[in-house]
Amino acid sequence: MAKSSPTKKAWRSLTWLGVIIVGLIALNGAGVFTGGGSWTPKLALDLEGGTQIILAPKLESGQTVSSEQLNQAVSIIRQRIDSAGVSESEINTQGGQNIVVSIPGTPDDATLSRIESSAKLEFRPVLVASAPTEASVGADGSTDTPTDGATDGATAPATDAAADPAAETPTVAPTDASDLNNITPALQEQFDTFQCSDIDTSNVAPADQPLITCETDGSIKYILGPVEVSGENISDSTNGQVTTQSGATTGEWAVNIVFDGTGTKAFADVTTRLSGLSGAQNQFAIVLDGSVISAPRTLAVITDGKPQITGSFDQETSKALADQLKFGALPISFTVQSQDTISATLGSTQLQSGLIAGLIGLILVVLYSLAQYRLLGLVTVASLIVAGVITYFLITLLSWREGYRLSLAGVAGLIVAIGITADSFIVYFERVRDELRDGRGLVSAVESGWRRAIRTIIASDTVNFLAAAVLFILAVGNVRGFALTLGLTTLVDLLVVALFTHPVLQLLARTKFFGDGHKLSGLDPRALGAVYRGRAQFQPSAEVASRKATSSSKEAAKRQTIAERKAAELVGTGSTKSTDGKDS
C-alpha cells in the first residue's frame, strides 16, 4: 500500500505528538513514583492557603525602621522568593513595622533563612588569623595569653589604654586596608578575648573599621581590615559546580560573582596588593552577615571582576546565596516573630464555580464550532482536548519542578486560552475554505491553505510568546505566574495545530466523506461557491457575463476571481450595490 508523502508526513506528525504526550505522562509518573510529583497541580495561596510568617525587624533600643527601609526589604524578599520558583506569594508590611510573608505550603528551614537572612556581603583583607580561644577566658580578659605573635609588647599598656579614646585610633595612620597599623591596642585586646560564640550578625562593624570575627564553623578567628569591596557592587551572581582547568567538575558547589565596573576595579586593586603579601595578610576574607564564609589565599590578581566563592556549599545553599547576593542585602535584619498556617481566602466554591464556568464555556465553543464548521468542528473539539491534556500535564510538571502554583486568576487565564487556541484552527479552516473557493481540490486546498495559515499563526503566536517571555523575565510577583501560563498555552497552541490539527485534516481530506465535500463535512465546495467539475475536482467558472447572472445563480454562486468580480461590477448596474452602503 503506497502512501503518498503528505499522508506519511501526517502519520509521522501524529506519532510525534503521541510520543510527546506519552513522554509527559511518563515524566509525571516518574515524579509521582520518586516522590515530590503529583497527578494534580498544586494550588496557590488563594485556593489552598499556606503559611503566614510575620517578620519583625531586629532593632537596637531607640532605633526605628523607616517605611522606605521596609518597602525595600519587601521588594528584596519578594525577589528572593520569586527566584525560588513561581509560587505567587503575598508580601506586605503590617503596622509600619513588620513584614508579613504568606507563602503556599509549609516552608522548611532553608526557605525561612532564604527569606529572613540579611545577606550583607563584604570582602575584607585578613590582618590576623588564629585558632579561637577557649571558652575559659576570664571576664576581663586580662589573663588571656595572646595566641598570635603580632601582639608583642602591646598587651600590657592595652589594658589600661582601653578606656582612653586615643587607644582606639591607630598611632600611625594605616596606608591601606591591609596595613597592620589598623590594629589598635584596644582592638587587639578585644580580639584576644573574643569568642566565636560572641558574633553579633545583626551588628557588623562599619565598613571603614576593622572587624573581629570567626569562620562560620568557629574554627578560626580573624581580625579583618576595612571593607574593600561590598555586595552592593555585585551585578550578578549564579551558582555552579567548581570546574578544574581541564573542564571536569570537582563536585564542589560555588557561588560565582560578577562585579560591576566599580567592583571589578576595586577587586583588581586589592588582589594585586594582597598577592604581594605573605602569611595571613595574603588571605582575602569573604564575610557574609558578619561571619567569614571562607578566606582563600590570593594566588593571582583577578582583573575580570568574576571571583568564585567556595565554602561548605551544596547545590541548594549555593543557589540560595547566589540569589540573595543578586538581589542585594536587606537594609535591616529580621527575625521570625510568628509562623502560622493560613486558610485559603477564596475557598473551594470559587474554584468549583470557575471550573463549571469553564466547562459551560467549552460546551458553548463546541456547539458554535459544530454549527459553523459541521463535522470539521469535531476536529476543533479534538484539538482543544489534545491541547487541554498537554497543558494539564505541563502545568503539573511545572508545579513539581518549578514550584508553580495555580491560582484562581491562573485558572481563568487557562479558560481564556481556549478562545485564543481555537483561533488558530479558525484561521486555518478559513484559509482552507478560501482555497476551496478559489477552485482547488480539497487535498491541495489543505496543503496550500496550511502554508498560508501557518505563517499567520506563527507570526501572531510570536507576539504572544514575546509578551509572555518579557513579562516572565522582567516582572515580579503575580505577573510572572500569568506570563508562564500565557507562554505555555501559546506553545501548546503551536504544537497542537502543527502536530494534530493539520495532520488530521490531511488525512480527512483523503476520506470519501470530506474529499467529496459531503454537505455535513463543513468543506462542501458547492456551499463555498466553487463549481463542480467532475472527478472531485472543482473549478471556478471562467466567465460571468453580468452581475445579474451572478446574483440569479443562487444555487451555485458561481465563483470568480477578484479581478473578474471587479470587472463585472463595473460592467453591471445591478440592483444590489456591492460596495457602499452595506454597513450603514
Partner: protein, 344 residues
C-alpha cells in the same frame, strides 16, 4: 448556516464588500469620542478605585475563637461597611484574619465590635492594624518596565516581519485605543482594580496585538499579490483583506468571548464580586474592543499611512486608470468607483 457560508463566500470574492477603509473618518471620530469618554469619565467620577492589594488597608485579627466559620466575619464587616470586600482567612488553629479597605477610626471600632460579637469573644481579643499593599510599587514598576520592553520588542518584530514600520505603528495605536477604553470602563463603572484585573489588562495587550497580526498578515498577502495590472488601489486591497478576514474575526471573537462571558456570568451573578469577575470583565471588554479596533482603526490607519508613499501613489493612479478604462468599455460604469474616491 448556509447563509453564513454565503456571507463568507461573498466577502471572499468581493461580491459583498463593506467599505471600511474608505470611511475611516467615521471610525476615527468614534474612537476619539470613546477615548474622550474613557479619559473624562473616570476623572469626573473621581479616579479609579484600587483594591487593597494596591492601597493597603485595615486588618483585624481575632484570636481564641471557637468557630472557624469564615462567612460570619464577612457578614460582620459588610454590616458596618456595605461596600467593603473583606478577605477572610483562618490563621493557625484559633484565629481569624480579616482584611478590608482602609477604614476610618470610627468604622474600625464598629467593625471590631461587630467581629467580637459575631464570634462571641471579648473585644480585647480583636486586634486591628494597618497593612501595606501586597502589590507594591516594586511590582508595578517592574511590570511597567516589562511592558515597555515588550512594546518596543513587539514593534520591532512586527516591523521586521511585515517589512514596514507602518504596520507596527498602526497596530500600536490600535492597542493603545483598546487599553485606554478598557481602563476607562473600569474608571467609569467604579469596578475595583485588583491584581486579577491587571492580569486581565495584560492578556488584552497580547490579544489585541495577536488579532491585529492575523488581519495584517492577510493585508500583507493581498497587497504583495497586487501586480502592475491590478485594478485595486492600495486602500482597496487593504479593505478587501479586512473583508476577507471578517468571517474569521467574527468566529474568533465569538469563540473567545463565549468562555469569558460564562466566567463573568457565573462570577458576577453566582459568586458576587471577586477574582473571577475582575479578570473576566477586563477580558470581555478588551476582546471586543480589540477585535473592533483591528478592523476599524488599525487597518484604515495603515492604509492612510501608506497611501502617500510615492510608489503607492503611482500604482494607485495606474489602478484607477485601469479601472476607468475598464469602466469606459462598459456603458454603465462609474458608480462603482465611488468608495475608492471617498476623500481621506
Amino acid at each position: 448556516m448556509a447563509s453564513f457560508n454565503q456571507f463568507g463566500n461573498d466577502l471572499h470574492t468581493g461580491k459583498l464588500s463593506y467599505n471600511i477603509v474608505g470611511r475611516r473618518k467615521i471610525w476615527y471620530s468614534v474612537a476619539a469620542v470613546m477615548i474622550l469618554i474613557a479619559i473624562l469619565g473616570p476623572v469626573l467620577r473621581g479616579g479609579f478605585t484600587f483594591g487593597i492589594e494596591f492601597t493597603g488597608g485595615s486588618e483585624f485579627v481575632l484570636s481564641e475563637i471557637s468557630t472557624e466559620d469564615q462567612g460570619a466575619a464577612a457578614t460582620a464587616v459588610t454590616g458596618v461597611v456595605p461596600e467593603a470586600v473583606p478577605k477572610v482567612s483562618v490563621v493557625g488553629s484559633d484565629s481569624i484574619r480579616v482584611q478590608t479597605d482602609q477604614l476610618s477610626d470610627t468604622e474600625s471600632r464598629e467593625v471590631r465590635a461587630a467581629l467580637a460579637s459575631a464570634y462571641s469573644v471579648d473585644a480585647a481579643k480583636v486586634t486591628s492594624s494597618f497593612i501595606g499593599p501586597s502589590w507594591g510599587q516594586d511590582i508595578t514598576g517592574s511590570a511597567i518596565r516589562a511592558l515597555l520592553t515588550f512594546l518596543v520588542l513587539a514593534g520591532a518584530v512586527m516591523a521586521l516581519y511585515f517589512r514596514t514600520w507602518k504596520m507596527a505603528a498602526a497596530a500600536m495605536v490600535a492597542l493603545l485605543h483598546d487599553l485606554v477604553i478598557t481602563a476607562g470602563f473600569y474608571g467609569i463603572t467604579g469596578f475595583e482594580i485588583t491584581p486579577a484585573a491587571v492580569i486581565g489588562f495584560l492578556t488584552i495587550l497580547g490579544y489585541s496585538l495577536y488579532d491585529t497580526v492575523v488581519v495584517f498578515d492577510k493585508i500583507r498577502e493581498n497587497t504583495a499579490e497586487d501586480g502592475s495590472e491590478s485594478r485595486r488601489t492600495f486602500a482597496d486591497s487593504v479593505n478587501l483583506a479586512v473583508n476577507q478576514t471578517l468571517v474569521r474575526s467574527i468566529n474568533t471573537s465569538i469563540v473567545a468571548v463565549l468562555p469569558v462571558a460564562s466566567i463573568l456570568v457565573i462570577g458576577a451573578f453566582v459568586l458576587g464580586a471577586g477574582t473571577l469577575q475582575d479578570i473576566s470583565l477586563a477580558l470581555l471588554i478588551g476582546m471586543l474592543v480589540g477585535t473592533y479596533s483591528t478592523i476599524f482603526i488599525a487597518a484604515p490607519l495603515y492604509a492612510q499611512l501608506r497611501e502617500n508613499e510615492p510608489e503607492i501613489r503611482k500604482r494607485d493612479k495606474k489602478a484607477l486608470a485601469l479601472k476607468a478604462k475598464a469602466a469606459g468599455t462598459a456603458p454603465a460604469a462609474g458608480a462603482d468607483a465611488t468608495h475608492v474616491d471617498v476623500p481621506a
